[in-house]
């Protein structure tokens, strides 16, 4: 099959990453930058989760073998496929990327809150959250005297 | 029997989705804040009710149905409250309706508009909508 179809999920994640990076670097507004950063971080989640999807799989919450639920799920798939890739007669998606992304999402919100709190302090110290204006003020700061008479 | 329930339930889900979509169109098309709130909140509760009812029919009499009932109760509690808060905030901020005879409100809005309460309310309804 065409790569654009078989790898569609990854390509979508790539496009979202590019959008996030673009938002991050193309604006001087610190809040908008944080939004771009959050978008960039979240799009890695798309990538990881797509890696762990098994076609015909179900969420990795154990279903007892030979229960009606397990039989109903298995009936939808080719028995040979279930035999080869299933665990206890049920095909599950890979739980490991889910765990990793849980971590990444939490790290993302931690970064977001710390970044925004710094942005708020910048607003209080400089009166603006536009990077260009902050740089102009900082240049004046740099020219200012340190230990002078 | 099971199939009939499936079909009816599916139909209700689709109907609920369409109703919610209609609400979205209303939010875009209506002229002022109050009518937009009205469109969003009514179709939200109505749509959610239909979808949840449909899902309950599909799942049959199981634990799922009880959970769906809880979800319904939660939606019925929060969406109207959020709509009320939103309208309240719009009113305090001095928005006047564009349609209908509400001329009397103008004076009241001006005297009651207070910057700090209005700000608290705007962030409030986003909050209660989140969970």
């Amino acid at each position: 099959m065409n790569v654009a179809v078989t790898h569609f999920n990854y390509l979508a994640a790539v496009v979202l990453m590019m959008i996030g990076l673009y938002v991050l670097f193309s604006t001087g507004n610190l809040i908008k930058r944080m939004i771009g950063l959050a978008l960039f971080q979240t799009s890695t989640a798309l990538f990881y989760i797509s890696l762990g999807k098994v076609s015909g799989g179900t969420a990795a919450i154990r279903i007892y073998a030979d229960s009606p639920e397990a039989r109903a799920l298995a009936a939808q798939l080719d028995p040979a496929y279930v035999q080869q890739f299933g665990v206890g007669g049920v095909v599950y998606s890979n739980p490991l990327p889910h765990v990793l992304i849980l971590t990444a999402i939490v790290v993302g919100v931690a970064t977001l809150s710390v970044g925004l709190s710094i942005a708020v302090r910048i607003r209080e110290a400089y009166g603006t959250v536009e990077a260009g204006e902050i740089e102009a003020v900082a240049r004046v700061d740099a020219a200012g005297a340190g230990r002078g008479p | 029997m099971g199939d009939v329930l499936h079909v009816v339930g599916g139909g209700l889900v689709v109907a609920g989705a369409l109703l919610t979509l209609l609400g979205g169109v209303g939010v875009l098309r209506f002229p002022d804040v109050y009518t937009r709130i009205h469109a969003a909140s009514l179709t939200d509760t109505g749509g959610a009710t239909l979808v949840l009812l449909g899902l309950a029919l599909i799942s049959g009499l199981t634990l799922e149905t009880l959970k769906l009932g809880f979800v319904w109760a939660f939606v019925m509690l929060t969406t109207p409250a959020a709509a009320n808060a939103l309208a309240n905030a719009a009113f305090s901020a001095g928005h006047t309706p564009r349609i209908g005879a509400f001329q009397i409100m103008k004076g009241v809005a001006a005297s009651e508009a207070r910057p700090d309460t209005q700000r608290r309310e705007t962030s409030d309804d986003d909050e209660s909508a989140a969970p």
Partner: protein
């Protein structure tokens, strides 16, 4: 190694758990610091915890010297199912370095914070400091690629706020901290992305398992890009040349303690992880060689020259030291890029030397800051007469940075040059020579102003820093001198690290 035997007095039950205690100790200490009622208690907790981590790091180093490589399976699950710590000579050396700098920083923080951090923030500041320490130690010990990301973030999230706290002295710390956060997070996300590609190709996150599976895989675009993203992401954290934009502002704005700690450990831990990936995880073959000699070496050379020149034209002392750090990272990576045992050993030796001397330099600048607001080079005029001890320590650090004989910096540069000659890379020798010359210029300028000019008339007078600040400063400066005369300990550790890396590859 005899030193470790002598220092090693932990009971065997503790030694078996030492690798995890190195990390868990500071984590629990950070909680204790956050709970403590005042800055003084938090400081004591900080010192005790850092000392405990150092003790355990010594125990680990002794164990590594005896046994070779230590594996510690967390949760009792053997890798690749569980997360494992994996410590070889390189990791043990790095942990010793980070933990010793941690202890020095903790001691130093007792007085240094008073002039730079508000009283009500000190308990949280100490807590954040210990979290950073735990993060770097975890980063050094972990054998799991994703776990490394977690520790990268543990150390970074704390660091961003710690840098921003420098606003009390200079409000430029805030935008600097913000851009550090942006760069750092982009770097960490690129790293995660790279690890994701490697995970997609191998199905495992354990570095040893990953290396084994990559070796059988052959050329694959996902693997190549994965490695590129991993190195680029870590390169941001390590301030590798074109990705170093965050560093000067952050080091210049942060409180002295944080500048000192970051300069001595943060970039080093990231360089360590790059080395780990390049030599332990990259598959043998053309790709790694092309990367080392055609990407890493030229970028490192550019860093050495360009950033040294930038340091010459810079007017603020902290920024000079910061640009110099980027240039020195270039020196270290030049050694690494040789990929010979001698080159790696020289790189590691340089890394340790740079950590000690940059630590001493930033600490000395902080010692001046206790009594006087000095920023530009001119502000430091004649400060040697007002605060002679701090200035002497600064002088030792600066001499080591410039590579004056009888300092550790000299030996480090010497071993780099001889390694480059051995490998037949004459151009690297030339770059090293030019870089050293440029270093001499900016170091000479600072020293000239400090030692040979009269203080500016009418300026506020500097006073000598209290003993609590001077003691750790002297230890770092003294180590730079001692290892400059008798380098058996760091040299043997650097050699052991190099043979662990190059010898480990099949």
């Amino acid at each position: 190694m005899i030193l470790f035997e002598a220092l090693y007095v932990a009971p065997p039950a503790l030694t078996a758990q030492a690798p995890i205690l190195v990390i868990a100790g500071p984590l629990i200490g950070a909680c204790a610091a956050a709970l403590s009622p005042g800055g003084r208690t938090a400081w004591m907790v900080s010192v005790l915890t850092a000392a405990f981590a150092l003790w355990m790091a010594v125990a680990v180093a002794g164990e590594v010297a005896r046994e070779g490589v230590i594996d510690y399976a967390l949760g009792g699950f053997a890798p690749p199912m569980g997360i494992a710590l994996r410590i070889d000579a390189l990791g043990a050396t790095m942990a010793l370095l980070v933990a010793s700098i941690g202890v020095m920083g903790a001691l130093y923080s007792g007085h240094a914070l008073e002039s730079e951090v508000k009283a009500e923030k000190r308990t949280l500041f100490q807590s954040g400091y210990l979290l950073c320490l735990a993060g770097f130690l975890g980063l050094v010990f972990t054998g799991d690629a994703f776990n490394a990301f977690v520790f990268l973030e543990v150390s970074s999230i704390g660091t961003y706020a710690l840098v921003a706290v420098g606003e009390a002295r200079d409000r430029r710390a805030l935008p600097a901290a913000f851009s550090y956060l942006i760069f750092g997070t982009v770097g960490a996300t690129l790293y995660v992305l790279g690890v994701g590609f490697l995970y997609a190709a191998t199905g495992t996150l354990n570095m040893v398992d990953m290396a084994m599976r990559l070796a059988t895989l052959g050329d694959n675009s996902a693997v190549q890009a994965g490695l590129a993203f991993v190195v680029a992401g870590l390169g941001v954290k390590a301030a590798m040349f074109p990705l170093h934009g965050w560093l000067p502002g952050a080091y210049a704005g942060a409180p002295s303690l944080v500048s000192m700690f970051l300069a001595a450990t943060a970039t080093k831990a990231a360089i360590y992880l790059i080395i780990r990936f390049v030599f332990d995880v990259f598959p043998e073959g053309e790709f790694g060689e092309v990367f080392l000699s055609w990407i890493l070496a030229p970028l490192a050379a550019a860093a050495v020259i360009i950033c040294s020149v930038q340091a010459i034209f810079e007017n603020e002392v902290r920024r000079i030291l910061a640009f110099s750090s980027v240039a020195q990272v270039g020196f270290i990576l030049l050694g690494v890029s040789l990929a010979t045992p001698a080159g790696l050993s020289a790189g590691m030796f340089y890394l340790v030397a740079h950590a000690l001397m940059k630590g001493a330099l930033f600490m000395a600048v902080g010692a001046f800051a206790v009594s006087v607001r000095a920023r530009t080079v001119e502000d430091f005029s004649g400060i040697a007469r007002e605060a002679p001890w701090s200035a002497a320590a600064f002088g030792v650090g600066a001499a080591s940075l410039a590579g004056v004989p009888l300092t550790m910096g000299f030996l480090a540069k010497w071993s780099l040059v001889s390694a480059a000659l051995q490998a037949g890379e004459i151009w690297i020798v030339a770059v090293l020579a030019i870089g050293s010359l440029l270093t001499l210029i900016y170091v000479g300028r600072m020293l000239e102003v400090m030692f040979f000019r009269a203080p500016v008339r009418g300026a506020e007078r500097a006073r000598e820093a209290p003993v609590g600040v001077l003691a750790p400063l002297f230890v770092l400066a003294g180590l730079s001198l001692w290892f400059g005369v008798d380098a058996t300990l760091p040299a043997s550790m650097a050699n052991a690290s190099a043979s662990a890396l190059v010898g480990a590859a099949p």
